[in-house]
């Protein structure tokens, strides 16, 4: 949360944002209607747009966002980068995985404002001049997907898995790729793909 204070407008400040975030944590993210009456009034209307610059795949993108916008929704709804997928919006499935710096994060649980000033890499940023990233090529070669919906998240996670040093054994790969659900269950092929790509990625 230390980096979010850089660009503010509309009277937004960090103290109000934190209070708003704390308040909204009381509100379940699902829309199950409840008879519950008591809700803390927001300190400030969080729907007022906030200016933010996101660095995505090496390019600065200036946006004016609702402060509650996640990195995932910023990518999908505001930057038209729809490669990252929404599968649960709760950080439970991994379909939205992107890299922030070298770290894999679930972009559905990361607020866009919290990612300002950091390098965000999405699946769209991997291939260079139509040459697939080794991990993308390995997924093709090993048929590591079926419907393809979880694939961008799997690939981002797989790249981080290798860079973290967690691709040394099949068991390690399985364990460290278990945050990404593939409902088609292409898992054995995903393991084979990570193994194929790992040496090339480690070599750089």
């Amino acid at each position: 949360m230390s980096d979010i204070s850089s660009s503010q407008s509309s009277g937004f400040d960090r103290r109000a944002f934190m209070a708003g975030a704390a308040g909204s944590a009381l509100v379940p993210l699902t829309a199950r209607a409840t008879a519950q009456e008591a809700r803390a009034p927001a300190v400030q209307d969080p729907a007022l747009p906030v200016d933010v610059t996101l660095r995505v795949n090496g390019q600065d993108k200036r946006l004016s966002l609702d402060a509650r916008t996640t990195v995932l929704d910023a990518l999908r709804e505001h930057l038209k980068l729809t490669g990252s997928k929404k599968g649960c919006d709760h950080g439970q499935c991994g379909a939205c995985t992107v890299l922030i710096g070298d770290r894999r994060v679930v972009s559905c649980l990361t607020l866009a404002l919290a990612a300002e000033g950091q390098e965000i890499t999405t699946v769209e940023g991997l291939a260079t001049n139509d040459r697939l990233h080794p991990m993308q090529q390995a997924f093709v070669d090993n048929d590591a997907f079926q419907c393809g919906y979880c694939t961008p998240g799997q690939i981002m996670s797989a790249i981080a898995c290798v860079k973290e040093g967690h691709a040394g054994t099949d068991a390690d790969i399985r364990e460290y790729m278990s945050g990404n659900i593939c409902r088609c269950a292409a898992y054995p092929n995903i393991v084979a793909a990570v193994k194929q790509a790992a040496p090339e990625i480690v070599k750089g």
Binding site: A35, K85, Q137
Partner: protein
């Protein structure tokens, strides 16, 4: 070549990489909610917190104060929609419970309001501020709840035509040397495809475009048109990629027409992305089932009597059932068979098709009972299947078009190392782990449906194939491209395939594992039409039929091998003779035995599947055998399934790569249905409890260390021109029984209720 691309055996196509592989690894594949819309408004659903009762009133004041809210739609101001009949009863709908029609609530999580706002964030915020005053009535949740009703399926569900029976079961069972009676239970399960149940609707004048993950674009198009009361030609459904289906997207859900109606009124595109938990109640699911199996056999293992009684839960509104007795009464030779399927009505949303709908629960019961019988007979369970193998099904005596069940058992047993098994329970272990081996049969009906296609061939060989099929992860693009390339004799890379759009020629529902057989047969036929026109131009004086037959194997079945490009047409010469630059043909194909109204129904989005046990003078099924190793920790009771081995025979294999992947995923689904998946229902409130990916357990990578798929070569000339049986729903059948059989072998404990969790083990 990698393990992912097995070397093709006889009657198998090439294991080429997926047509859509690069699009999928680069993020360029566009799913429903990826489609760009011009200035969309965002919808967020509010769903019911009670399962039965009425809405007295809404308090929307707080919600409307949220900045950016445009409208809140409830039953008091919702667009009026017409009713649609249940899919299983000849309509389009997965449920006839129509939300926002009245103040009545029929199930937990029913849509009761839709918030429309300028942003997703505002819509969500406002939805959480909607206050509802209910009058709740105590609901009936499931089998053991008070207030349910139970009645025979026959007579209330149009798709359930008969309770199969033959001979005199009661007498034969009474007199049988060995008798077994056992009861089994399977739980509620939800498909949980990775892509959420999103819907985007955009009107252009009086024309509606829907972007939505669908397994049946023609059904959805016609269903939404019916509900809106407009001409079906004014509705277009587009979904070039679908993020998994597993049956959940085969029939229309109520959300689509609601969103379309609101978008029309607002005169603005609307995008709805429901939450994961809402997906548990706004779409369908696999209902819980109960079974009683009675088997009578002679001492040498011959079945003399078999009875299967099944009961399934459905909603108050709809008589949905899967009725798997049509398969379980015909799988083995047995002269005296009886069966009965009943439906129990509870206050639930309507269940629906989920991957191998009848076979997963019904074969769990039968294949568990077969293992129990083998134990009683002190016989190897593989040998018990061999003794009761048959070439003709016992109910009507019809011959199987082909049946490689025992070949599958033998191949899989060899690969698994079944011979190393010591038969006694609890006789194998490794340190703290009790080891169990188990096996079971799988089968799935070969089904086909009418399909149309358009094929366009250019002088330079570039080819365009159009058919409203669906890419739900099965490899539809890939095998359609392969089929056209082989049939026309053009290079694969010159073929472009267009599917997932209801403006294309009608394809079948991507369900019942019929797509490959149906769409490939249609494309083959239309490719032949293209070739015929070129032949006619090249050889105007030859007898077309004779020459065509001789040159490309037209008219032979299955003809794909013969139509390979070893004698390709000289396209330049043919097009010169024709005096044209392009040949385009459209054709409509229907399977043998298709009803008279097939083509009409195809255009109006009504599925007309034929095949399986319902054929006139034959019966067509794909078969397989599955072997599993389980390990049960003797102290913690943790259960692992380190090895799953399956051998399968399904007629022509169009592409061993995509086939293997589907079967591999199926095996993992099967393991999951035994050990992981169950939707828990609060019996007091009839509400789903674990409606998210943290609590509804699906397999992750660490759950499946070893999966082996063996594809058997099989040729069947009696099913369809493509010679394909369909295998998307073959591998996840029987696995649940194989696992329980292995747990019995490991622990000596027979478990008849799924899923099996460590608390169920009593070692």
């Amino acid at each position: 070549m990698t393990a992912a691309a097995p070397e093709p055996k006889a009657n198998m196509g090439k294991p080429v990489p997926r047509y859509d592989a690069v699009a999928k690894v680069t993020g360029r594949a566009t799913y429903g909610s990826d489609m760009p819309l011009d200035n969309p408004a965002y919808a967020f659903l509010v769903t019911s917190a009670i399962a039965k009762g009425r809405i007295n009133s809404f308090d929307l004041e707080d919600a409307k104060r949220v900045r950016g809210v445009i409208d809140i739609v409830t039953h008091e101001n919702a667009p009026k929609l017409k009713e649609s009949k249940l899919f299983s009863n000849g309509g389009y709908a997965g449920t006839t419970i129509q939300p926002l029609k009245s103040a009545d609530i029929a199930h937990d999580g029913e849509i009761i309001a839709v918030v429309i706002a300028e942003s997703y964030e505002a819509a969500r915020e406002a939805a959480n501020r909607v206050k509802v005053n209910y009058s709740a009535v105590t609901p009936s949740a499931s089998f053991d709840s008070q207030g349910t009703t139970k009645a025979a399926a026959k007579g209330q569900n149009a798709q359930f035509k008969e309770d199969p029976k033959v001979g005199d079961f009661a007498k034969a069972f009474d007199e049988a040397e060995v008798q077994l009676t056992a009861s089994y239970e399977t739980p509620t399960q939800h498909h949980n495809p990775m892509e959420l149940f999103s819907t985007s609707c955009a009107w252009m004048g009086d024309t509606l475009v829907i972007y939505e993950p669908s397994q049946y674009v023609y059904g959805l198009k016609n269903g939404v048109a019916e509900q809106l009361g407009i001409d079906a030609d004014k509705v277009r459904v587009v979904n070039p990629y679908v993020g998994g289906g597993f049956g959940s997207r085969g029939s229309m859900t109520p959300r689509t027409a609601i969103i379309a109606g609101i978008a029309k009124r607002l005169n603005r595109p609307i995008k709805l992305v429901p939450t994961r938990d809402q997906g548990f109640t706004i779409a369908t699911y696999r209902a819980e089932t109960r079974h009683e199996i009675k088997l009578g056999a002679s001492r040498d293992g011959k079945l003399v009597a078999l009875r299967h009684e099944g009961a399934e839960v459905s909603s108050r509104a709809d008589p949905y059932c899967v009725g798997g007795t049509k398969t379980t009464t015909r799988l083995y030779a047995c002269p005296n068979v009886d069966s009965l399927v009943s439906i129990v009505r509870a206050d639930r949303n309507t269940p629906g098709f989920m991957r191998s709908p009848p076979e997963v629960p019904y074969l769990f019961a039968l294949e568990s009972a077969m293992d129990e019988l083998a134990v009683k007979l002190n016989m190897d369970p593989v040998e018990l299947r061999r003794i009761n193998d048959t070439t003709n099904e016992p109910i009507g005596g019809k011959p199987y078009t082909s049946r490689s069940l025992m070949a599958c058992f033998d191949e899989a047993a060899k690969a698994f190392g079944w011979a190393q098994r010591s038969a006694a329970p609890k006789s194998m272990s490794d340190g703290d782990w009790l080891i169990g081996y188990g096996c079971a049969a799988t089968c799935y009906p070969t089904q086909m449906a009418p399909a149309a296609a358009r094929v366009r061939l250019q002088r330079d060989g570039r080819t365009r194939v159009e058919i409203a099929g669906h890419e739900i992860g099965t490899g539809a693009y890939t095998i359609l491209a392969q089929t056209a390339a082989e049939r026309l004799g053009v290079p694969l890379e010159k073929v472009a395939v267009f599917i997932g759009d209801s403006d294309l020629p009608p394809g079948p529902v991507a369900g019942g594992s019929n797509s490959t057989a149906s769409t490939c047969s249609a494309v083959m036929m239309v490719c032949d039409q293209v070739r015929q026109r070129l032949f006619k131009a090249l050889m105007p004086n030859e007898s077309l039929a004779d020459k065509a037959k001789e040159t490309v194997g037209m008219g032979q079945t299955p003809s794909t091998e013969a139509a390979r490009s070893d004698r390709p047409l000289d396209l330049e010469k043919a097009f010169d003779a024709l005096g044209a630059g392009v040949v385009e043909e459209y054709g409509e194909w229907k399977p043998e035995g298709a009803p008279l109204d097939s083509f009409k129904a195809m255009h109006s989005g009504h599925a007309r599947l034929v095949g399986g046990a319902a054929m006139k003078d034959k019966i067509a099924y794909a078969f397989g055998a599955e072997f599993v190793e389980v390990r049960v920790n003797r102290f913690t009771h943790e259960i692992r399934a380190p090895r799953l081995v399956g051998a399968f025979a399904a007629g022509r294999i169009m592409n061993p790569r995509t086939a293997r992947s589907q079967l591999m995923g199926g095996l993992i689904w099967g393991m999951s249905s035994a050990l992981l998946e169950a939707t828990e229902i609060d019996e007091r409130t009839a509400r789903y409890v674990n409606d998210n990916f943290a609590d509804y357990l699906v397999p992750v990578n660490a759950d499946v260390p070893g999966v082996e798929v063996i594809l058997l070569s099989e040729q069947d000339d009696h099913i369809n021109p493509a010679g394909a049986k369909g295998l998307g729903e073959l591998a996840n059948v029987g696995t649940n029984a194989a696992i329980c059989n292995a747990i019995y072998h490991a622990t000596g404990q027979r478990i008849r209720k799924l899923p099996v969790r460590l608390e169920n083990i009593e070692v």
